[in-house]
């Protein structure tokens, strides 16, 4: 037997065997509900399966980042199987709306459950969980009284003490976009340049790395999404970093949303609306947001105890869709200011 034939056969057998053994989920009666979701599997799958069981309908989902999912929807066009599109950023929802990939819906249940600044005025999308991006400080070295606003982090007193995540992170881009909307481009750029001048070290790839660096003493203050700290505090009760709600005397702390809408070419429109309403309902809201230490978008629902412990805060109530619109401008500002 010559050499190449054996591995060829082995690999072919492997492939065929594995293919044959794959068992897809059993088909339930009726059209399945198809969800394209940038909110990842570990945060949503359990709820999706619960809905499927409750409603006697199959829920199929596929995960990816928001931008590729938008591209997939575009390429599939009118024949896309997707009914619902869920993102982890208002910018992606805004962009999907611009590209004509979502359809406006009216739903009394959704409109009463979700505050106006967390949903599209025309009903293309609705916020389902709120992520606050605010100041984090090292408890041993900083007192809350020393903190006030995001802009104050640009003051010389924090020179060499500030840590930031990469300017390429969408959450930083949406924070900067909010400031461009609130105080104009020039003032925002001045503030961002001040932050960069205060950096203790190169920006980090993600919030978790940054928070760990703060705990390790590399820097004293930083800007983070609260849930990243929530996860770390959940693992280690005495994690030496704490949340400070920024801009409480001003316009409020920056929030972004994880939210969803019904796709333009949904085959199962009625079911898609019912599904979003179910996700926004009080009983589900706590778990939808709670799985990730976020705040429920439904204002009548309490967050997890660990999240409640950070105290309540005043959110900036500029419509989150406006932030998406300004995001490209924010990205360019970040490049100019040299925020790597």
């Amino acid at each position: 037997m010559s050499f190449p034939t054996v591995p060829l056969r082995a690999i072919a057998a492997c492939a065929v065997l594995a293919g044959a053994l794959l068992s897809g989920p059993a088909l339930a009666a009726g059209e399945p509900l198809v969800v394209y979701t940038a909110r990842k599997y570990q945060l949503v799958d359990q709820l999706f399966q619960e809905y499927a069981k409750e409603q006697g309908i199959e829920v199929k989902s596929v995960t990816d980042d928001g931008a590729p999912l938008i591209q997939r929807l575009k390429a599939e066009g009118p024949n896309s199987p997707a009914d619902v599109f869920i993102t982890v950023d208002a910018g992606d929802l805004w962009r999907a709306t611009q590209a004509g990939l979502l359809q406006p819906i009216r739903s009394a249940a959704l409109e009463s459950a979700i505050p106006a600044h967390l949903r599209d005025p025309e009903g293309h999308w609705f916020g389902l969980a709120v992520r606050a991006r605010t100041i984090a400080y090292a408890t041993g070295r900083v007192k809350p009284a020393e903190l006030s606003t995001y802009a104050a982090l640009a003051e010389p007193r924090w020179k060499g003490k500030l840590c930031l995540r990469s300017g390429k992170a969408v959450y930083n881009q949406s924070l900067v976009a909010m400031f461009i909307n609130d105080m104009g481009e020039a003032a925002t750029e001045k503030m961002v340049r001040g932050w960069i001048a205060n950096l203790a070290t190169e920006p980090f790839a993600n919030d978790t790395l940054m928070l760990k660096a703060m705990a390790a003493g590399q820097c004293d203050v930083g800007i983070t999404n609260s849930y990243y700290l929530g996860r770390l505090q959940h693992e280690q009760k005495d994690f030496p970093v704490q949340i400070f709600w920024a801009d409480q005397a001003g316009k409020g702390t920056h929030v972004n949303i994880s939210g969803g809408g019904v796709t333009k070419h949904a085959k199962n429109r009625a079911e898609a609306i019912r599904f979003l309403e179910w996700l926004a309902s009080p009983a589900i809201q706590q778990r939808f947001a709670g799985s990730n230490f976020e705040f429920p978008a439904n204002a009548n629902v309490e967050p997890l105890p660990e999240v409640v412990a950070w105290g309540s805060f005043k959110p900036n109530t500029v419509n989150v869709g406006l932030i998406g619109k300004t995001q490209p401008q924010a990205v360019m500002l970040i490049d100019r200011a040299g925020w790597r």
Binding site: V6, A15, G19, T63, R72, K168, P328
Partner: protein, 496 residues
């Protein structure tokens, strides 16, 4: 038979194999035409110069590290899949990112260089010795120059993969062309500008590859003796033996043991919560896709290698072959956009002309394989082409004169002589597909979540520890086929 018709056959085969890549590139070009001038101006002013310099540093540095590592004769290729970028080194710098990607990618150079050294065989080195060259001189003045096309092939793969890397560079927050592509798409909301950037990157790669070819000139490399014995093992006495062991062991420790231990520690911490029956299906799907893609790439690479095995195949055939294998230098996510767009266009054309509804190709396993072939054909083609160029033309002439038809020629002469090249090609594609993310994510059908998809979902949420479990599962799932192939290759090498 006149020269023109002699070239028609190879050219049409090569062009046929290049079709998937052509469809993808057409989709990318069409998208790039829509790039907004204002965004392009912004990128040129604030972004391009820096990312171009960074990208160059990355490519050169990674090739250097990967090449310096190749001599490590570690008795196994098991670490080939170490493309995981989960190990977080303390140094977030150009040096750090170069070291990590270089260590992860050196098997490309190692496997191809090893194949070349084995074929040249003992006889060449013995001749060198008889001419008075010592072992070191033999290495630098005979073995390495003779291995040049294979070394260059491995280095080209490494450089292309480094250029297209997004995982490691984003962990290090090191800005390259790839991060600029992501910024344009995710941040500036312009997939068109992202595609344009990818085309610029692609043309740089094409230029670099053309330059290498030009430098190699008209020299031809064939094995002096196709059935050469493998070089005799040289027993290194005392101190030198320890030094060699330490070097090989060091590479093994840094490239495999260290990351594997880190992964295992994390994985055991999360396994009680995350490990369940679903993992059986993830592993099977991962193996199925990797196996099918490896076979598809191998088949096309052999067709391409056969068509272009002689210089007389003509320029068109060689150009088509180079084009077909460019996909490896395109960041996976850009290629995925091209794949999805091309398949979407095919589906709507199908509907328009043949009726029916729904999606024919989009969202099928075929779509995934199409994407894998467009991306990984280069990985299979490198070793196969190397193998073909070691088969002396006189052998083929002899076989022809004995009356062998083309089919028999391939199955009875070429395939057996390609030996180790086939193993290397299968191995590299298999491992690459197992850890591929962007194309799998964007084109997979429902229910086709693989281990790499799970890794993505965890890392995308910053949950590195939880990503260790599926990463380790990729390593474990790959062990069997990789071990089998390695064993076969060793045996074939010994038998030769």
């Amino acid at each position: 038979m006149d020269a023109a018709s002699a070239r028609a056959g190879p050219a049409s085969v090569a062009i046929l194999v290049a079709l998937p890549m052509a469809a993808v590139v057409a989709a990318i070009v069409q998208g790039a035409l829509g790039a907004e001038p204002a965004l392009w101006d912004h990128l040129r002013e604030y972004v391009l110069a820096r990312v171009a310099a960074n990208t160059l540093v990355l490519a050169v540095g990674v090739v250097a590290v990967a090449t310096l590592d190749y001599a490590g004769i570690v008795p196994t290729a098991l670490r080939a899949w170490l493309g995981n970028d989960l190990w977080l080194p303390p140094i977030r710098s150009a040096g750090g990112v170069v070291a990590v990607i270089g260590i992860a990618l050196y098997p490309y150079v190692y496997l191809m260089a090893r194949g070349a050294f084995l074929t040249h065989g003992a006889r060449v080195l013995e001749s060198a010795q008889s001419l008075g060259l010592g072992p070191w001189q033999g290495l630098f003045r005979v073995a390495i120059p003779l291995a040049r096309p294979w070394l260059a092939g491995g280095m080209a793969l490494v450089a292309m993969e480094a250029l297209a890397d997004f995982g490691a560079v984003s962990v290090f927050n090191y800005d390259t062309f790839t991060t600029a592509i992501y910024e344009s798409w995710y941040g500036l909301f312009s997939v068109e500008t992202a595609l344009l950037l990818a085309l610029v990157l692609l043309s740089f790669v094409a230029l670099a590859l053309a330059a290498e070819r030009l430098a190699r000139g008209r020299r031809r490399y064939t094995a002096a003796d196709a059935g050469a014995r493998a070089p005799l093992r040289l027993a290194l006495p005392g101190f030198r033996g320890w030094l060699a062991t330490a070097f090989a062991g060091g590479v093994f420790a840094v490239a495999f043991v260290l990351p594997a231990v880190a992964l295992a520690r994390w994985a055991t911490a999360v396994a009680p919560f995350d490990l369940d029956g679903r993992y059986v299906a993830y592993v099977l799907r991962t193996l199925a896709l990797a196996g099918m893609a490896a076979l598809a790439c191998l088949a096309l690479a052999v067709a391409l290698g056969y068509a272009t095995r002689k210089p007389s195949a003509g320029r068109l055939a060689h150009a088509a072959a180079r084009f077909a294998t460019l996909g490896y230098a395109v960041p996976g996510t850009v290629l995925a956009v091209g794949v999805v767009t091309a398949l979407g266009a095919f589906d709507s054309a199908w509907r328009a002309h043949l009726g029916g509804d729904g999606l024919w190709l989009s969202g099928t396993v075929l779509a995934l394989l199409f994407g894998y072939v467009a991306r990984f054909l280069a990985v299979a083609y490198g070793p196969i082409q190397g193998g073909f160029s070691r088969i002396r033309p006189s052998l083929e002439e002899a076989a022809r004169s004995l009356g062998l038809a083309t089919r028999e020629l391939i199955s009875r002469l070429h395939l057996p002589l390609l030996g180790a090249g086939i193993g290397t090609a299968l191995l590299l594609v298999f491992v690459d597909v197992m850890k591929e993310m962007p194309i799998t994510l964007m084109t997979r059908p429902f229910g086709w979540d693989t281990l790499a998809v799970r890794v993505f979902e965890m890392t995308a949420e910053g949950e590195w520890e939880r990503a260790a479990l599926p990463s380790l599962a990729i390593v474990a799932a790959g062990l069997l086929p990789v071990a089998l192939l390695t064993w076969r290759m060793e045996r074939a090498a010994r038998a030769a």
